[in-house]
C-alpha cells in the first residue's frame, strides 16, 4: 500500500521532470509561429503577454528567490518606459540607443530606493517599496512640461523596421527570451544560491558568510533593470506612455501572475501572465468590471488554492506569524 503510493509519487515526479521541458518547447514553437497562424489582434495580445511575463519574472526574482515582497515594482517598469520615451521624443536619440539606455535608468532608480528599502525586512520593506514607488507616478503625473502629465507622452515611435506589429512582436520575443535566459542563469548561479539561502533563513545565511544586505540590494537593482526592459518594450509597443504605467495598482499585476502561476517556479509567472491576459480578454466581453473580477479571483486563489496553478505554496517562504 505504502510502496504503491510511493511509486505513484515517483511517477508523478518523473512526469513533472519531462513535462516542463516539453511544455516549454511547445510554448517556444508556438510563440515563433504566432504571427503566421493568428491575426493581428492576437499578435498584439501575444506581445502584451510577453511584456507582462518579463515584468513578472523580474518581480519573482525578488519574491520567489529572495523572499522580498516588493510592492512598488511598477516604479521601475514606469521608469524604463518613461526613460525610453523621453530619450526618443525630447532628446531625439535613435530608438535602439534609447531602448538600450532606458533599463539603466530604471536600475539607478532601484539602486537609490533599494539603498534604503533593502535594509528593512517584511512589513517595512513592503511599505517602503510601495511608498517610494509612488514617486515616479507623482513626477510623471505632475511634471507636465516634460512628461505631458495625464495626457501622456505621445509619439514614442520605434524604428521603421519594427513598426509592423509582427516585426515588433519578434523583437519583443527575442528581447524577452534573452532576458529570461539571463535571469535563469542568474538564479541558478552561486549568487542565486545565496539568494535562496537568504530567503530560507537570513540569519543563517549571514552566519555562513553571505553578505545579506549586499545580495538584497544587488538583486533589487537587477530586478529593477529587467522591469525597466519590460517598461521600455511597452513604451514602443503602445507608442505612448501614461502615468498609469507607474501607478501602484500596476505593481499588482506581477504579484497576481506570480501568485497564480506559483512563486517557486521560474516559469510560474510566465504561465500566470498567459492566464491573466487571456482571462482579461475573455472577461471584458461580459463585464466592464475587470478589476473587480481579478481582485475577487486573487482573494479566492490565496485563500482556497495556496499552491497557485503550478502547485507551489506561497506561504512556504514567509514564515509563520510570531
Amino acid at each position: 500500500m505504502l510502496s504503491a503510493t510511493k511509486k505513484r509519487f515517483a511517477a508523478a515526479k518523473q512526469n513533472a521532470s519531462w513535462l516542463q521541458p516539453a511544455l516549454l518547447a511547445g510554448l517556444a514553437i508556438f510563440s515563433l509561429i504566432v504571427p503566421l497562424i493568428l491575426g493581428t489582434f492576437n499578435v498584439f495580445l501575444a506581445t502584451e503577454i510577453l511584456i507582462l511575463a518579463l515584468f513578472s519574472v523580474s518581480f519573482n526574482m525578488l519574491l520567489g528567490y529572495t523572499g522580498m515582497v516588493s510592492f512598488g515594482q511598477a516604479a521601475y517598469y514606469g521608469l524604463g518606459a518613461y526613460a525610453a520615451g523621453l530619450f526618443v521624443t525630447r532628446m531625439g536619440l535613435p530608438m535602439p540607443l534609447a531602448f538600450a539606455l532606458a533599463p539603466f535608468v530604471a536600475a539607478v532608480g532601484a539602486a537609490l530606493v533599494g539603498a534604503i528599502a533593502v535594509r528593512r525586512a517584511h512589513a517595512y520593506f513592503i511599505m517602503l517599496t510601495l511608498a517610494f514607488g509612488q514617486i515616479v507616478y507623482a513626477i510623471a503625473l505632475s511634471w507636465y512640461s516634460v512628461t505631458g502629465g495625464d495626457n501622456g507622452l505621445l509619439g514614442v515611435r520605434p524604428i521603421p523596421l519594427l513598426s509592423s506589429p509582427t516585426n515588433y512582436y519578434y523583437f519583443v520575443l527575442v528581447v524577452v527570451v534573452i532576458c529570461l535566459y539571463a535571469m535563469y542563469r542568474l538564479v541558478n548561479s552561486p549568487f542565486g544560491s545565496g539568494l535562496k539561502a537568504i530567503r530560507e533563513n537570513p540569519l543563517r545565511a549571514e552566519a555562513i558568510g553571505i553578505n545579506v544586505l549586499l545580495h538584497r540590494w544587488v538583486i533589487f537593482i537587477i530586478a529593477g533593470f529587467f522591469s525597466g526592459v519590460a517598461g521600455a518594450l511597452l513604451a514602443f509597443f503602445q507608442r505612448s506612455i501614461f502615468p498609469d504605467a507607474a501607478l501602484f495598482t500596476k505593481s499588482f499585476d506581477p504579484l497576481v501572475t506570480t501568485v497564480l502561476g506559483g512563486v517557486g517556479n521560474f516559469f510560474g509567472p510566465v504561465v500566470g501572465s498567459i492566464f491573466l491576459v487571456l482571462l482579461e480578454r475573455f472577461v471584458v466581453r461580459f463585464t466592464e468590471h475587470w478589476l473587480l473580477v481579478v481582485g475577487g479571483l486573487v482573494i479566492i486563489v490565496v485563500i482556497g488554492f495556496s499552491r497557485g496553478i503550478t502547485g507551489f505554496d506561497i506561504s512556504r517562504f514567509f514564515g509563520r506569524r510570531r
Binding site: R119, A123, L128, W143, H289, L292
Partner: protein, 283 residues
C-alpha cells in the same frame, strides 16, 4: 495653512488605524483607505434622505462609521482569519485584492463619475477667525478630527479595553495566556480602525469631489506616515501626519508639483537616521 492641517488630520485618522492593526495583529491592510472611500460615498447617499441637510449629515456622521465597522468585521472574520497563520504575504495579497473589489463595487453602486456632496446650508461660505479664513465646508474635519484624536487617546490610556490593546501590541501570546480573547480583541480593533477611516471619509466628503479610485493617493501617503511615525505607534502617526501636512501646505505655496516628492524625501531622511521611524522601536 488650513489645507495642510486638514490633510494632516485626515492622514492621522487613516494612519493611526493602519498603525494600530499592524502593531496588534501584524496585518498590513492595503485596503484601509477603501473604508475611507466607503465612508465618503455613504455620506453622498445619505444626503438624499428626506430630512434637512444638516440632519442628514449628522446621521451620516454617526451611521457611516458603524456601517463600515460592520463591513470590516465581515472581512476580518470571513477572509483575513483564514490566512493569518500563513504569514504576511497572503494577508497583504487578500487586502490588495479587496482594494479592487471595493473599487469595483463602488463603481457599480455609485457610478464612475465625479460626485459632489450636497452640502448643508451651514457649510457654505467662509468664516473669518481673525488671521485665517476658513471655508465652512472644512468645519467638520477641523472640529471633529481633534476631538477624535483626544477620544483615541482617552480610549487607549484611560480604559481597560485600551490597556488590553496596548498589552496585545507588546506581547500577544502572553496576553492570550493570561485569559484575554486576543482574536476577538483584534476583531474589535480592526472594526475601530475601519470606522476611524470611514469617519475621515465622512469629514472630508463636503470638501472634495468623490470618485471610486480616490483611495490610491491616500493609502500611499498613509503608508508614508505610518513608516515615518513608526509602525504600531499612534503618537508617531500623529507627529508624522502633522509633519507631512505642513510640508504639503508649504509646497502648495512654493511648488505644488513637488508636494508628493517632498513627502518621500522626508521619509528617506527620517529612515536613514531612524530606520524604525520617529516613535517605533527597533525590531
Amino acid at each position: 495653512m488650513s489645507s495642510g492641517l486638514i490633510k494632516a488630520m485626515l492622514l492621522f485618522l487613516i494612519a493611526s488605524g493602519l498603525s494600530l492593526i499592524w502593531g496588534m495583529g501584524r496585518v498590513i491592510n492595503v485596503a484601509h483607505a477603501s473604508f475611507y472611500v466607503l465612508g465618503a460615498f455613504i455620506v453622498l447617499s445619505m444626503m438624499q434622505l428626506p430630512f434637512d441637510a444638516a440632519i442628514n449629515y449628522a446621521l451620516a456622521l454617526v451611521l457611516a462609521p458603524i456601517i463600515v465597522a460592520l463591513v470590516a468585521a465581515v472581512i476580518e472574520l470571513g477572509l483575513l482569519r483564514r490566512v493569518y497563520h500563513r504569514g504576511i504575504l497572503p494577508v497583504v495579497m487578500v487586502t490588495f485584492g479587496l482594494v479592487f473589489v471595493f473599487q469595483g463595487l463602488v463603481r457599480i453602486i455609485w457610478g464612475d463619475e465625479l460626485h459632489v456632496v450636497n452640502t448643508p446650508a451651514f457649510m457654505r461660505g467662509a468664516v473669518s477667525l481673525g488671521v485665517v479664513t476658513i471655508a465652512k465646508n472644512q468645519l467638520p474635519i477641523i472640529i471633529v478630527a481633534p476631538l477624535t484624536a483626544i477620544g483615541i487617546w482617552a480610549v487607549f490610556y484611560r480604559t481597560r479595553w485600551g490597556t488590553l490593546v496596548r498589552a496585545a501590541t507588546q506581547d500577544r501570546e502572553m496576553l492570550n495566556a493570561l485569559g484575554t480573547n486576543v482574536p476577538r480583541l483584534f476583531t474589535v480593533t480592526f472594526m475601530m480602525a475601519a470606522s476611524l477611516a470611514a469617519l475621515g471619509g465622512v469629514l472630508v466628503a463636503p470638501t472634495i469631489g468623490l470618485f471610486p479610485a480616490m483611495d490610491g493617493p491616500l493609502i500611499v501617503d498613509a503608508f508614508a506616515v505610518v513608516v515615518i511615525g513608526g509602525l504600531g505607534s499612534i503618537l508617531g502617526s500623529l507627529l508624522a501626519a502633522i509633519i507631512i501636512g505642513l510640508v504639503f501646505a508649504f509646497s502648495l505655496l512654493i511648488a505644488p508639483e513637488l508636494g508628493t516628492v517632498l513627502t518621500f524625501l522626508i521619509m528617506a531622511v527620517v529612515l536613514s537616521f531612524r530606520p524604525w521611524g520617529l516613535r517605533g522601536s527597533p525590531e
